[in-house]
Each structure stands twice: as structure tokens, then as C-alpha cells.
Amino acid sequence: MRHVRGFDVVRPLSIGMLIFMMLPLVFLPLASIFIFGTRTGLDKFWAALMAPEAIFALKLSLATSFWATVFNVIFGLFAAYVLSRYNFWGRNALIVTISLPTAIPTAVAGFALLLLWGPYGTLGRLLEPHGLQLMFTAGAIILANIFVTFPLAFGVIKPVFDTMSRSLEEASATIGATRWQTFWHVTLPSLRGAIVSGALLTFARAVGEFGSTILVSGNLAGKTQTAPLYIFAKFNEGQIEAANAIAIVLALFSFLIFSVLFFARDWLDVD
């Protein structure tokens, strides 16, 4: 193929090829959720969405994800501060360990939590006599979410810390600020973008978590059933419409979060 008179044939061809490849892989599955879910009419869709168990599942997902996000953002901020400001023996090992949950299959993560906190687990055994049971509760879901999304906020915040000029903090110190004032007025504002995107990523990932939650939650409808578990359960029961309604909500939700991440990038990094 030639490049003839300013018209590059490769350009439209490669763009077309890209879209064609993505069609069966991404576009069509996404579209089918919406087509299938609304096929029987919007009122059916609405009714399925308003079922008490469905609402509970959505609420539980949002609540558990929220707390996991709060914890992981604060922890990620702290870990990024320590690991980027101080150099010590074992620092790299810590960085690898923090990032490890990315690579661990979520089912393994859930299983590991069961082994530790379950009724016969290493630590769970100690709680049992006091009538405490962590597994198969909302707490267990939060714990699983924390584990699975552990490295996300840290991974976004740490590079920003690394590239932040030390002279900003030094300038603040010579001007007379305490460490806390420096952190609050100088360091934190520069991290705003990283914190927001880290939080959104963590939250989006936690809302969709399935593999670990199904093991630790017990999957009790109306008690410990999160939205993804609800989809799975309803599908198994053959209630496709019920599953589909929640699927649409979750898909729209992730779409929203990624739009914010993508389009608000300039705002988040504004100088």
C-alpha cells in the first residue's frame, strides 16, 4: 500500500481493524446487558431493581467498598510516605509485599482469609470462645475488599510522592511550618489528584469483587450478599431479569467512575 497524495490508507484501515477486533470482545457483551435487560420493558427492569434483596445487595456493596476504600487510601498514603521518604533495609521487600495482592487470584485471597479468621482458623479460633465470628459477616467482606484492593491507591500515590520535589517541603520547613503543617498545606494538595484517582480505582474494583467475597461472605441473601454475588445467585436460579437489572447498574457505575477518571484528569492534576 502506498502513501498517495497526503492520504494515508493505513490510517482508516488500522482504526477500522481496531474497532472490529473490539466488537465481539468488549462492545457486544456490554451492549447485550442493556439490550437484554430492557427487552421486557423498563417497568420490569425497575421492578427487578426495586426488589428488597437487590437493593440490599447494592447497598451492601457500596458500604463495604466505601470502608475498604477509606482504609486503603489512608493506608496507601501512609505507606507511600514512608516508603518514598525513608530508605531502610527491607524497603524493596515491603514494596513488593504491598503490591502482591494484585497478582494473587481473588479466590486464593478469600480462602486465605478463611484459613486465618474462620471458626477453625489460626486467629478465628481465639475469637470463637468470646462468641465473636468475623467470617460470613459484612466485616469479612470489607476485609476481603481491603486485601484485594490493597495495592491500588498505594500504586497511584507513591509515584507522585517519588517525583515530588523535596525542596517544597524544605522550603515549608525553613518558612517555619511544622511537619504536620507542611504535610497538610504543601504535600497533601499536591497529592489531591492521586488520592482521588486512587480512591476511585479502589472503589470501582471493590464494588465488583466476586472471587474472595463469595468465599468469606457466606452469600446469604439479604445478609451478606453483595451485588456481584446477587447476579450470580439469580442467574443460577434462572431469574435472568433480576440478574440483568443489577448487572446494568454495576456496568453503568463502572462506566461513570472511569469517565470521571478519564475526563477529570486535567482537573485532578491542575497546577
Binding site: 517544597l168 520547613a173 525553613t174 518558612i175 517555619g176 511550618a177 511544622t178 503543617q181 494538595p189 497546577d271
Partner: protein, 408 residues
């Protein structure tokens, strides 16, 4: 006045051990610092008087930044003290010292507007809003950035950012201002412009300042006094006039612009450079007959005469051959070879010492002269001409007596 200041400082250096230091806005006493096993500072001492600008001039790696960071409290010295207005602050953290640091990278807070940046020092000191607003307005006027008050640092030019940085430190009335190569990131034009502005500003606010730079022109222009640093120690400290015209060491002579260096032997009342003799009245306490010394003179001190005649008041050196003439705009630069034969500085010392000298300097008697345009066009020269070389002024460096070797 400059002279008086110079002698005062010398005295201060000599009397380090005396309990009462002379009143100074800022002084460092016997600073030493090591990074690992390498020593970066050795017994650095100097004073800065009230309202004075002291420039620490040195190549990269000379330790000048480390001195600044130690004064600011961003680095701890191994030994020595930092005294600000009579108070020993060596053990105080940076935030309690009340110094203002102007960084090369400006270090403005990117998420704060110009006025927030300037008011930062007062905000964290919990001053009243009205007071903060008034101070910020005053400083914005002082650095002429009133119309930029709502802008963010990234919307300003380098020179403007640096002015914000200065205003930001002036806001909390620092005891001393420390400038860490503040013009390093600017282009040449902005540099010289801002330099003049800052010089005027410092004269106005009268805050004692320490300025570090590797640019000799900047040092001469900005400093009331200049301290030349080399590998962690001070080579010389004095007024720009003193250090340029009367360098104490060869390093100072060559670091501050071009310098010609000739070796000479001290005789009763003359200096002997090969077969030529130079009239010089030397301090007999410092120079002894037979000493091998170095004569330093600047290219602009050289006077060339095509004939045998010399103006009175000049010091004759010898005849020379014009090797090359280079036109460099404002003046012409001439390379000359002096007719001094191969004779070297005569020494009575051991051959071991002789070998420490670089061999080129022993045999090469090439010097550089510069002539301003009027002189160049009045007496035209070309390569191959023979001229008579004289100098208007020169400095004789004290012989480096390695007492350990020569006395034993």
C-alpha cells in the same frame, strides 16, 4: 569602608577561639562536614554583618550548597556552630531558625496562588487576616507583581517566580536570607536583569544575605564581600575588588577570570623571572630571598609597546613575540610568547618538590593580553610582530611553605 570590613573579618577569623564573637548578623564557626568518608567542609568560618551581602563563590562540589543547608538547618554539621544574631542555633530545627531560603528551583507551592504563597509564613504563624493582607500587599508592590496576585506559580515566568519566592521569605522577616544559586535556571538576559533588581531590593530591605553561586561575574556584582571556596575550604574572603585584583592564591586568581601566572625567584629587592627582573617591594616577613613565587596579572593589565619606549609607571617584563590575535567583539585577545628563555624558577629545595610542579608551567612562557578597541586600532599588531611587554599591576602570591618538608 570596604577595606575596614575586610580587616574586621580577618580579625574575626584569627580570633576564633575568643569567647565573645564580634557582633554579626550571622556567623558560622569552624564548620566541618563529612559525607561518608569524604570530607566536604573543613573548618569553615565567616561572619555576615548587618545588611551585608556575602557571596560564597565556588565550583560545583566546593561545598557551598552544604554550607547554606547547614545554616538553614536542613543539614547537620559534624563540628562547628551556626550563630544568628548572637544566638547559637546549631541544634535548632529549620523551622525555628527564622532564616529565609531562596531555592534554585523556586520551590513555590504549586497549588497556592501568588498571594497565598507570600502569605504562607504568616498564615502558619496564625497572624490576623488583616495583617496578612497588608503584608502581602506591601510585598507584592515591592516585587512588582500586583497584577499577578491571583495566578498560580506555573502561570509565571522564571524571573517572576523567583520574585515571588523572595517575597514569600521576606513576609516573615527572616534573620538572614540564603540564596541557593537563585538564577541557575534562568536565561542570561533575565539573569542579569533580575540580578540588578535583587541587588537593589537587598539594599532596600537591608536583610543580611548569603548568596551562593558558581558565576564569578554574579559574585563580583552582587557581593559586598566574596568568599571563594575550593574543595571545602575558604581560599580567600574579601571585597570583590580585593579578590579580583589581589588574589591570595592561584586558585582564586584563575577562578575569577583569566589570569597570567609567571614564576619568579625572590632577590633582595627584585623578582627574577628568568633573565628579566621586576621591581617589587615585598613584605620581608612573608617573602625571603630565594623563595620561588608566582606573579599573577590579568590580561587587561598587560600593556604592549611596539617600540622600546614605555609609559612611566609600568612594570617592564620582557620582549615577546605575538603568536595569535583573536577578535572577540569588545576587545582583542592576543597570545604572546615571552622571551624568557628556558630558565626556570631557581630552587634550593629537594627534587621531590620540583616534581610536584606541572612541567608545562615550567617551560611555557605564553601569556594572554587583551586590548580594548581604541588601543587596538591605534597600534595595529599582527602575528609575528615583536613587542615589549609591561604590566600595570600585579600580585605576588605568597610562597606555599610546606614547613614540614622544607624545615626538616
Amino acid at each position: 569602608m570596604a577595606k575596614a570590613k575586610g580587616t574586621l573579618i580577618q580579625k574575626a577569623q584569627e580570633s576564633q577561639s575568643i569567647a565573645d564573637p564580634p557582633p554579626a548578623a550571622a556567623s558560622v564557626v569552624g564548620l566541618s562536614k563529612h559525607f561518608g568518608k569524604t570530607s566536604v567542609l573543613e573548618k569553615i568560618s565567616f561572619d555576615v554583618a548587618e545588611g551585608e551581602v556575602l557571596v560564597l563563590l565556588g565550583a560545583s562540589g566546593s561545598g557551598k550548597t552544604t554550607i547554606l543547608r547547614i545554616i538553614a538547618g536542613l543539614e547537620m554539621p559534624l563540628k562547628g556552630k551556626v550563630i544568628l544574631h548572637g544566638k547559637d542555633v546549631t541544634d535548632l530545627p529549620a523551622r525555628e531558625r527564622g532564616v529565609g531560603v531562596i531555592f534554585q528551583s523556586y520551590a513555590l507551592f504549586p497549588k497556592m496562588t501568588v498571594e497565598k504563597n507570600i502569605g504562607y509564613g504568616l498564615r502558619i504563624r496564625k497572624r490576623r487576616r488583616k495583617e496578612i493582607r497588608e503584608t502581602v500587599n506591601e510585598l507584592l508592590a515591592l516585587v512588582q507583581l500586583e497584577e499577578h496576585r491571583k495566578k498560580y506559580p506555573s502561570q509565571l515566568s522564571g524571573g517572576q517566580q523567583q520574585r515571588v519566592a523572595i517575597a514569600r521569605t521576606l513576609a516573615y522577616k527572616p534573620e538572614v536570607l540564603l540564596f541557593d544559586e537563585p538564577f541557575g535556571a534562568l536565561d542570561t538576559q533575565t539573569r542579569s536583569h533580575l540580578r540588578r533588581e535583587i541587588r537593589a531590593l537587598l539594599k532596600k530591605v537591608k536583610v543580611p544575605s548569603i548568596f551562593i553561586t558558581h558565576d564569578q561575574e554574579e559574585a563580583l556584582e552582587l557581593g559586598d564581600r566574596v568568599a571563594v571556596l575550593n574543595e571545602g575550604h575558604i581560599e580567600q574572603i574579601g571585597t570583590p575588588f580585593e579578590i579580583y585584583n589581589h588574589p591570595a592564591t592561584e586558585y582564586v586568581a584563575t577562578f575569577l577570570g583569566a589570569a597570567n601566572i609567571l614564576e619568579a625567584t625572590v632577590k633582595e629587592d627584585v623578582l627574577e623571572v628568568g633573565p628579566a627582573q621586576i621591581q617589587a617591594s615585598l613584605d620581608t616577613a612573608k617573602f625571603r630571598p630565594g623563595d620561588c613565587v608566582k606573579i599573577v596579572f590579568r590580561p587587561e593589565d598587560v600593556v604592549l609597546s611596539p617600540g622600546d619606549l614605555l609609559r612611566p609607571g609600568l612594570t617592564r617584563i620582557s620582549s615577546a613575540l605575538v603568536e595569535e590575535i583573536i577578535f572577540v567583539g569588545a576587545y582583542e585577545r592576543i597570545r604572546l610568547r615571552l622571551d624568557l628563555g628556558g630558565e626556570e624558577c631557581r630552587r634550593d629545595e629537594s627534587p621531590y618538590l620540583l616534581t610536584t610542579e606541572t612541567p608545562e608551567r615550567q617551560t611555557t612562557k605564553a601569556i594572554i593580553a587583551t586590548r580594548p578597541k581604541p588601543e587596538a586600532s591605534a597600534t595595529r599588531l599582527q602575528a609575528g610582530d615583536r613587542v615589549l611587554v609591561a604590566i600595570t599591576s600585579f600580585t605576588v602570591l605568597e610562597p606555599q611553605r610546606d614547613t614540614d618538608v622544607t624545615q626538616k
